[in-house]
């Protein structure tokens, strides 16, 4: 049973996505989708990129990074400088932002990899803060006032295809021998190492890939919201991203995507009650952790087989105990 790129399910999925892309594009052009919905749609996409990218580090590889906003900041500032100050096209700016963040990921990754668990978490938080303070002290990028008047290059085409590409790249990485090596590190570091996995190398790779896409998200963010400040990328932002990943299920891309969508929508609904919003958000977080610490999806992924099984189970045809690889 050979799996191929142009399999029926893959084509079906591609078709669905293209239909969504086309309909949304028409909606934006025709004004059926107003600015408010557009804003939230774009936010959802950016948050999906952030969530799946952090999932490479925290979910797949089992490392504990809570400084992701720092990489986002590098992507945002790097790309904004490229377009605003140096006059490069947006495409080039995106690449510079993402590669810059990836380099930072490499630099953060190498010295901190000796650390484990809580210590690694705090070190990455520290790195995130250091990145923010360094940006704060660079006059060239506006210091505390940040950069204003960034051109709004981020449009539906860019954001849609880059979100899809991010998810695809990370999924393809995850389901290869290299992704399995990362998962093995998460599952049992000592066993992985004695089975021939160069754990340092893969931790660095995970950090670099995660940072790369966080940088990409930062670049898209900067070129949608016109303005960026160092405070935009503080550890509150890092925690937001962490919450997507943890609520969705560490190690599950499907979970990250679902929770990025769900939580973005939730905060949109609570927009008018800004004060209440944080209370609800935090209570939700605590309750989910108490009731289902492995998150919504655990490590399971969406699969057609899973859906079929779930359908069988729901329609009473299923035999035997439920399998966790289904959607639930």
């Amino acid at each position: 049973m050979k799996k191929m790129f142009f399999s029926l399910p893959n084509l079906l999925m591609a078709l669905l996505l293209l239909a969504f892309y086309g309909l949304t594009y028409a909606g934006l052009e025709q004004g059926w989708i107003d600015d408010y919905y557009k804003l939230n749609l774009f936010l959802i996409c950016i948050n999906i990129i952030l969530a799946v990218s952090l999932n490479v580090i925290n979910g797949m590889t089992g490392q504990f990074s809570i400084g992701h906003a720092g990489f986002m900041a590098i992507g945002a500032y790097g790309s904004a400088v490229m377009t605003m100050k140096l006059g490069f096209p947006f495409g080039a700016a995106l690449i510079v932002g993402a590669v810059g963040a990836a380099l930072a990921g490499l630099i953060v990754g190498i010295p901190t990899l000796r650390l484990k668990g809580d210590y690694l978490a705090i070190a990455t938080l520290g790195f995130g803060e250091i990145i923010r303070v360094i940006i704060l002290n660079i006059e060239y990028v506006g210091g505390a006032a940040g950069l204003n008047g960034i051109a709004q290059y981020t449009n539906w085409h860019w954001i849609f295809f880059l979100t899809v590409a991010t998810v695809l790249v990370i999924k393809n990485f995850m389901t290869s021998t290299h992704g399995r090596a990362c998962i093995a590190i998460r599952e049992n570091e000592i066993a992985a190492e004695t089975m021939g996995v160069d754990i340092t190398r893969y931790k660095v790779i995970a950090f670099t890939i995660g940072a790369f896409f966080a940088g990409l998200a930062g670049a898209l963010h900067a070129h949608y919201f016109y303005t960026i400040q160092p405070t935009t990328f503080g550890f509150m932002k890092s925690f937001d991203i962490l919450v997507f990943v943890v609520l969705g299920g560490l190690g599950s891309l499907t979970g990250s995507i679902l929770s990025a969508i769900g939580l973005t929508v939730l905060s949109a609904f609570l927009q008018d009650y800004a004060e209440l919003r944080m209370v609800i958000y935090s209570l939700l977080l605590i309750i989910v952790m108490l009731v289902r610490p492995q998150g919504l999806m655990g490590t399971a992924e969406f699969s057609y087989r899973g859906v079929a099984k779930l359908y069988d189970r729901l329609s009473g045809k299923g035999r035997g105990p439920g399998n966790d690889t289904a959607v639930g």
Binding site: I130, V133, N137, L250, M278, P293
Partner: protein
Amino acid sequence: MEVFFQQLINGLSLGSIYALIALGYTMVYGIIRLINFAHGDVYMVGAYVGFWATTQGWGFLPALLLSMVVCAVLGMVIERLAYKRLREAPRIAVLITAIGVSFFLESTGVLAVGAKVRTFPNVFPEVKFQLFNGAIVVTNRQLVIMVVTVLLMLLLQYIVHRTKIGKAMRAVSHDAQAAMLMGINVNNTVSATFAIGSALAAAAGVLVGVYYNAINPYMGIMPGLKAFVAAVVGGIGVIPGAFVGGLSLGVIEALVSGYGSSLWRDAVAFALLIIILIVKPSGLFGSNAREKV
């Protein structure tokens, strides 16, 4: 040289605050291996309780005591409701819960008292002592902070080393399983640890209110993180380490502000953290432990 000594004094008073908060971090981590992210927010609540009491006309000491008692109870409640069920859960779940509790305290604070900055009543009219012909200035508030901190530290040492609950705390922190077999009530010991740690954070909150005069619901975030840095620098789980770590961090920050730019101050704390973590992850006073295979 004047700058140095002036910043040393400023740093020691700031460092006392870090030290008081760091003690709670280190005790809790020592006993249940949890980075209690909500600890900085307990310190914020402490400041507000002190604020309420002093605006009601209470004196400094009664306000301090009230705040410590209220926060001790708050600390125990947080532990019972949010953390207790997660003792066997994956570490990341516990850490996220702690972050959730932290958000909850901050946002509830905003809801209850508003996000705006409050001005603390002037409990001690400021008195400046000029040393060396005015080259160095020490205020009575700085002296109060340092004296209260040292007294609390001594009290803590007494509790930990001389009382029954202190011995239980040390036993549980050394080996919870064994302590339980020896008949120590682990749950009560953990509660006591939270109570003591939170009371110390509350004291720090009141002292900061008195020192800087301004408080707000988000005031706990940065000092909380930095106190954690202090605890790690001193060797997490080691009580004197937290004290020394807190004071050192305060002094280093003050010196950076004095000689360089205060904008770099926050980065310095975290850079110090990373250097310590890489060079000696167990901290200045900690000992190494490795997973058994």
